[in-house]
Amino acid sequence: MTTSGGAAVKAAPWKDPTARPYVQVDHITKSFGDFKAVNDVSLKIYQGEIFCLLGASGCGKTTLLRMLGGFETPSSGKIFIDGEDMTGVPPYERPVNMMFQSYALFPHMNVEQNVAFGLKQDRIPKPQIEERVATMLDLVKLGDFAKRKPHQLSGGQRQRVALARSLVKRPKLLLLDEPLGALDKKLREHTQFELISLQDKLGVTFVVVTHDQEEAMTLASRIGVMNHGEIVQAGTPSEIYEFPSSKFVADFVGSVNMFEGKLLEDEPEYVRIGSEELGGTIYVSHGISAPPEAIVWAAVRPEKIFMSTAPPAGTDNVVRGAVQDIAYLGDLSIYLVKLPTGKVVRVTQPNTSRHAEAITWDQQVYLSWDATSPVVVTR
């Protein structure tokens, strides 16, 4: 039974202060002229992890990945892989391999020759190369396609060749640049689980770059969310999702309802926020650290909001509104509910019953949520 991140997740080495990181990125900056693509990034990645760099295009994640691979030299800072300083080392001398977004399969060589290429560079004896290539092709289920050329393969098959080629050298670190971007949805889901299973079997440390947060959530043992060249938060998928450290992360990963407000009561065990946007008060059952009179945002995920036609008990965490739009997605429905203040709240509900009292457009509903649901962010 495999889960995202495999063995690493169970061990959670990032929580152990004595654990030695496998990949250490120390204050790395990369500037192109005046523009800082990567700005003072530090990271610790542990062996066996699947670490995802998540962010929008232009956030610096690909540049960071390329620096790990040796295709860009950092303007300042150091990179350590398995304890060794690899900062200036060129790609052909690093124990690191990369799976490119376009797969970059050599068109003039067949599948076998593509996969064998890296082994040939290491001058491994021919019989060994043949054996390792055959094993790897079987592992990615391409054994019958060994003599085919890349243009004779489908997109999914090409991806598996690229994967086989980058893994056959048993690198210490595998870098994957948007590995599932070119695949259609069904194939993507299938490949996600295959990737995890492969990683678990071989025990290679993965660093994956993606802009697709679903992909990151499925694959990763930990995610590093990037924005403007910086890592704004690093943590497990559930940490990122349930406890975002900023508006940006809350909004970027999954959808969220953000209510701006002021602290009315600030106690160690709870806070009460008054929000004009909401037209009500939000009660959060844990303390936060924020200066008095600070403007804060309460983030509530759409799936944590209850929708009912009858008014629920209590005055905190309750608001009335009218259903403005409904999107039916099969397994769940998304409701956009307009509040009297004008703010539109997004609510998702699973379609558990086929004949439930259907909520329709323009219907007046009550929205409410648990006191544990909101996450308060101060920036």
Partner: protein
Amino acid sequence: MNYRSSYFILTCLGLGFAFLYIPILSMVVFSFNASKLVTVWDAANSPTLKWYYALLNNEEILDAAWISLKVALINASGSVILGTLAGFGLARFSQFRGRFTLNAMTTAPLVMPEVITGLSLLLLFVALEQLIGWPAGRGITTMTIGHMTFSMAYVTVIVNSRLATFDTALEEAAMDLGARPLKVFFVITLPIIFPAILSGWLLAFTLSWDDLVISSFTSGPGSSTLPMVVFSKVRLGVSPEINVLATITITVVTLMIVGVSWWMARMAKLDKAAA
């Protein structure tokens, strides 16, 4: 495209190709004409192969053809090396000292009138001979140098534009898998851009084989190329042996082009079948 405009386009295409090919066809037809006047068809004695025999026994033309061949072969091979280096440098290295100059020097020969290039090369060779004694007189060496200078510009353009559409990720992937840059060039880049290099070689060969002006400036006694001999003949008017030469040239070129196209189409078909 509606019908009216496509008829217009079709007519233009038809007329245009007729314009391009009627002169060529007329040369071929009249190469079989017995009359020495070439364009006056001698129905009684034609068609005949007598001018073909005459050409193949014409020492002057055969010697000149041999010289042209030597120069063209050396030129093509040398230009390909120089042009590939320059094309690779311009395509891959976005910044280096002298990039602007190299770029200008490889595009200027494409448009420069040949009289200017020819004159300047000759004056250079004369000055060099005065200064260091080399080259001793003009001949095949100076002609080849002259041809290579303008041919490499064409090869540079071809290689440069081929590399522009080349996925650099392929080179990065090869380096990532352990190959050093030089190996990457020979094992990955070169094989993939080989068709472009081949067409560069063919282009350089043809440019040299057909060149008149630069050859005239840079040749010496006893090193007349085929175009130079042809030119001196046609200045005086038509000559049936030239028609024969034209027919042979056109036939060879056509066979080569058709042959290459057919071969490439066949490769593509085999490829598809294997998939």
